[in-house]
């Protein structure tokens, strides 16, 4: 029998990969086996293009309790408490059905957290869209924001932080990355590792339908709109809430040996992963699986991506207790199989054997590819462009440029979005969205808190993937540091175009290297993550977007600070004085260009600046801190002022290091710098601290009650006008 090209396309395997399957099995695969190989050997499940690259990431450290490879990573914050967290993409579904795509993205990442036995306490999301001027983008944007809120609000998990960025490269392929953070007793972490021959495999939650069949496979091909029709899952957050509470209750018993949620590739991946990581076999009978519709065959049952389902491996003597808990929560559960000793995944359809394959074939034998990347000449040329050859901004135009930047979709207020997310539920939110550079969530029953933030400036990564990758890690960590937290670990979601194109592979490879180097330097190991490749439409890849989510620890929650400066405060710039308009928001806004070299990044200085700010906050010398990112120094200062305040700024001490150019001085971007606000009486002590820490510190202004921003004795702008520009950016 020869396999048709059509059949191979359906499971997204190459002919060479198919031949590998035949060789492994010593025979042609049965139809269900072939479907399962397609799913497990997809990029989404098998990481076949990224696995060799991911080895570059540092994944260990004194706080790491669980590194990559489980449903989520876990870090120790002391007192036996672990923080479980992970970020994951749901890009392709969101391109086609934005509300459900985003909603089920939230549902999936939340399940990953409570599968570990952790109580989810915070959600974040990192979103990328095309220009809001397009009605299609507006529809996707509204749908995605609605889906995130609709699902998260219903679950009762606060959505506390995130980031949104707009660029035309995302028009046909938006990015929706959801991150969840949970709290777990380190001694009670549950893993997806089946054990104990004879133990029972229980499927609980939603009935299994035809929705989402081939979702994992199709996440790994290009042109989401064409490929995804009919495979989008529909979320039921109410059911997930019951599943969450019931699973956490079941894990309080002694009866559960493993738990694995059903996400991409449904039963296929959860059964295979449970068996493979436990080095055991699992036998299930698809006839025992309760279906949502009649006439489903074994293939459909195994590849369904119906949401809100969980696989639980239970000791036989505990089955009654476990099912009693599920019953109490009105959740349907079926015993669908058993753990076996032969290492095989065996799928029965009544008496018929549909699959009998060693679990390791699906996982360990998944082919991996190391390719040769080549930088795109077009991008190399764009980077080589000398941004200082552009005419400088005249002083008269500073006000206009500032207004335009404040209203830019990439800078303007996220208030209209965050207001639709419940961020006060669970009564832990100390710094809500927009109050600080990162959200701060207290850990009940302790004096501690965590700070969390996602970030990635994709323009920097596009122009220079290595430096941009470093920036993504450094900026997310810097944001966390600005609340007073010490960054302790990170998760990432690698959103890239096709790795099969040398230019795409180059970006992936270089960005991962940059991220790995920064993560190592900042001592923030990578404990979990997700890879989403093939983010392309019309043959054009999205900007390479390695989203980074950082978790930081605050030992004394009462020391945490936000970004709002009080009247009378002195504003000081800690760190880098020199900025560039290369890759900046200003360059895009004013000159319509994505070009030039992005800001350089000196990791040693970065570490010193972050440490200095953490120390200054911990010793209560500083009452506000804010990172300067897109838009540069002036935008950052305005973001620190509430509408009733004003400020007199004097940037003269920075002028020479910015070549005397106003565009660089006011709107240039740079890493390793943080604006801090302090009472005048603290300035001397801060100078001493900065000197000891070898961190440049410059006084750049004072906060007053004038309601006016006065710059270098030359330009004055009412703050309320700027706030109006800022507040209106996302509105129609």
């Amino acid at each position: 029998m020869t396999i048709t090209t059509e059949a191979l396309r359906e499971v997204a395997l190459t002919r060479v990969e198919y031949d590998q399957v035949v060789e492994l099995l010593g025979r042609e695969p049965r139809p269900v086996e072939l479907g399962m190989f397609g799913a497990m050997w997809s990029e989404h499940c098998g990481y076949k293009n990224s696995r060799p690259l991911l080895k570059k990431f540092p994944t260990t450290g004194p706080r790491v309790v669980q590194g990559p490879g489980e449903n989520a990573g876990v870090v120790d914050i002391g007192d036996g408490i672990g923080i479980a967290f992970k970020i994951e993409s749901h890009n392709h579904p969101s391109a086609v059905e934005p509300y459900q795509g985003a909603a089920t993205g939230v549902g999936g990442i939340v399940r990953d957290i409570f599968t570990m036995g952790a109580r989810p306490i915070a959600l974040l999301n990192s979103l990328r869209f095309g220009s809001l001027d397009s009605p299609r983008t507006r529809y996707i944007f509204d749908g995605v924001v609605g889906g995130i809120g609709g699902y998260g609000n219903c679950l009762g998990i606060p959505t506390v932080a995130g980031d949104i960025f707009f660029d035309d490269s995302y028009t046909g392929n938006p990015l929706v990355n959801a991150m969840c953070v949970g709290v777990v007793d380190n001694s009670a972490i549950m893993r997806a590792k089946a054990s104990g021959v004879g133990n029972l495999v229980v499927l609980v939650g939603a009935d299994t339908g035809r929705d989402g069949i081939h979702g994992a496979t199709f996440a790994s091909v290009e042109n989401p709109e064409e490929s995804h029709r009919g495979v989008i899952q529909v979320g039921n957050p109410f059911l997930e809430k019951l599943l969450l509470e019931a699973c956490l209750e079941v894990l309080q018993t002694e009866h559960v040996v493993a738990m694995q949620d059903l996400g991409a590739a449904g039963l296929t991946s959860s059964v295979v992963e449970c068996a493979s990581s436990g080095d055991v076999g699992i036998e299930i009978d698809v006839q025992k699986v309760t279906r949502r519709e009649q006439g489903m065959n074994a293939y459909e049952v195994m590849l369904s991506e119906s949401q809100e389902r969980m696989l639980v491996v239970v000791r036989e003597e505990g089955l009654e207790d476990v099912r009693a808990i599920f019953d109490r929560w009105d959740l349907h559960s079926d015993v669908i199989g058993r753990v076996t000793g032969d290492g095989n995944v065996c799928i029965m359809d009544g008496e018929a054997v549909e699959v009998n394959v060693p679990a390791s074939f699906f996982v360990d034998q998944c082919p991996t590819y190391v390719r040769d990347g080549i930088e795109s000449a077009r991008i190399a040329n764009a980077r080589a462009f000398d941004v200082d050859s552009l005419p400088d901004l005249s002083r008269e135009d500073v006000g206009d440029a500032l207004h335009a930047l404040m209203a830019s979709p990439n800078i303007c207020s996220r208030e209209p979005v965050v207001q639709t997310y419940d961020h006060t539920i669970m009564s832990n939110t100390v710094l809500p969205p927009l109050a600080g550079d990162a959200a701060v969530v207290r850990i009940k029953g302790t004096n501690k808190a965590i700070a969390v933030k996602t970030d990635c400036n994709p323009r920097y990564v596009y122009l220079d993937p290595y430096v941009g990758g470093m920036h993504a890690v450094a900026e997310a960590a810097r944001n966390v540091s600005c609340t007073g937290a010490k960054p302790i670990a990170l998760t990432n979601c690698l959103n890239f175009g096709s790795p099969e194109k040398p230019e795409g592979y180059y970006q992936l490879e270089r960005a991962v290297s940059g991220m790995a180097d920064a993560a190592r330097a900042l001592e923030t190991p990578v404990v979990s993550g997700n890879v989403s490749l093939y983010n392309e439409s019309g043959n054009e890849a999205v900007f390479p977007t390695p989203t980074v989510g950082v978790v930081g620890l605050i030992e004394d929650v009462s020391t945490a600070v936000g970004m709002t400066a009080s009247s009378g405060a002195v504003l000081l710039l800690a760190g880098q004085h020199s900025a560039t308009i290369g890759g900046s928001e200003y360059l895009k806004q004013r000159h319509g260009m994505t070009a030039g070299a992005p800001p350089s990044l000196d990791l040693d200085l970065e570490i010193r600046v972050q440490k200095f700010v953490q120390d200054a906050i911990a010793s209560r010398m500083v009452h506000a801190a804010h990172d300067t990112s897109e838009g540069g120094l002036l935008v950052a200062v305005i973001e620190m002022l509430d509408g009733s305040l004003g400020s007199a700024l004097d940037f003269s001490c920075l002028a020479s290091e910015n070549g005397g150019r106003l565009d660089r001085l006011y709107f240039g971007e740079a890493a390793s710098r943080i604006i801090i606000a302090a009472a005048p009486t603290q300035v001397e002590a801060l100078r001493t601290l900065a000197e000891a820490a070898d961190v440049p510190l410059a006084e750049i202004g004072r906060v007053n009650t004038s309601g006016v921003l006065r710059m270098d004795d030359a330009t004055s702008i009412p703050i309320l006008d700027l706030h109006d520009s800022w507040a209106s950016g996302l509105k129609r």
């Binding site: 609709g150 809430k241 019951l242 207001q419």
Partner: protein
């Protein structure tokens, strides 16, 4: 005083209510399961926020048929203090224990932020001892919180002092812009005629610690300590 917090499938404010009573008010509290049929041993009940039964059909419409609601109704009829918060308001309104109905917010969007509310009467179980005019800063988080009654019903509520909280500006003044959801007459909370059942959309149980942005919710939760004991004794 011993509080009970009712958990329906889909409730998600139950954890906060339990925390607020235990950590904020430092009173005894225990969860009450929706399949239970008794609330014996409790001096006050909280019907918390969330999405009971996924808010399918209509917010609160299914929860009112839960087995526990019979006991809750008896408790109310005996004068027991009951506080319905957010989805709990919707449940009590559906059950006929609180007046009015709750519609989708006027802007058709979920809204999470801090608002100011003014105490309109101190005669209820959960405003006892509070001066009318007292301004409380509380969080809201709802998509269907637009309180609605007809003008006749409104007059009726006014007359019987059943309006307990109104949205206002930070100084306590009426301001249409301070009404976050389009509620009739800026009404944020109401009570039954007797005043023992109070229902409101803002979340006092999320405002029990200055660390979280405010602790003025404790004034509402704590008011029952004064009135509740009398009510409990009277039953």
């Amino acid at each position: 005083m011993r509080f009970g917090v009712v958990t329906f499938p889909g409730s998600n404010g139950d954890h906060d209510a339990l925390s607020a009573i235990e950590l904020g008010l430092q009173q005894e509290v225990a969860p009450v399961w929706h399949k239970d049929r008794s609330v014996d041993g409790f001096d006050a009940l909280i019907i918390p926020g969330g999405f009971s039964y996924g808010d399918y059909l209509r917010a609160g419409a299914i929860a009112r048929f839960s087995p526990i609601m019979e006991a809750v109704t008896d408790f109310a009829q005996q004068g027991g203090p009951i506080l319905g918060i957010c989805n709990g308001f919707q449940v009590l309104a559906e059950a006929g224990l609180a007046p009015g109905v709750l519609l989708r917010n006027a802007n058709l969007s979920f809204s999470c932020r801090w608002v100011h509310t003014r105490v309109e009467t101190g005669r209820t179980a959960f405003s006892n001892g509070l001066q009318p005019g007292t301004v409380l800063r509380l969080p809201i988080a709802h998509g269907e919180g637009r309180f609605f009654v007809t003008p006749e019903e409104l007059a009726h509520l006014e007359e019987r002092q059943q309006i307990v909280f109104r949205y206002c500006d930070e100084y306590g003044n009426d301001d249409p812009l301070a009404n976050p959801n389009g509620s009739t007459d800026s009404i944020a909370g109401v009570c039954n005629e007797r005043g023992n059942v109070v229902a409101l959309m803002p979340h006092p149980e999320r405002a029990y610690d200055p660390l979280l942005g405010g602790d003025e919710g404790l004034q509402i939760l704590g008011a029952v300590l004064r009135s509740g004991v009398e009510a409990a004794v009277g039953r």
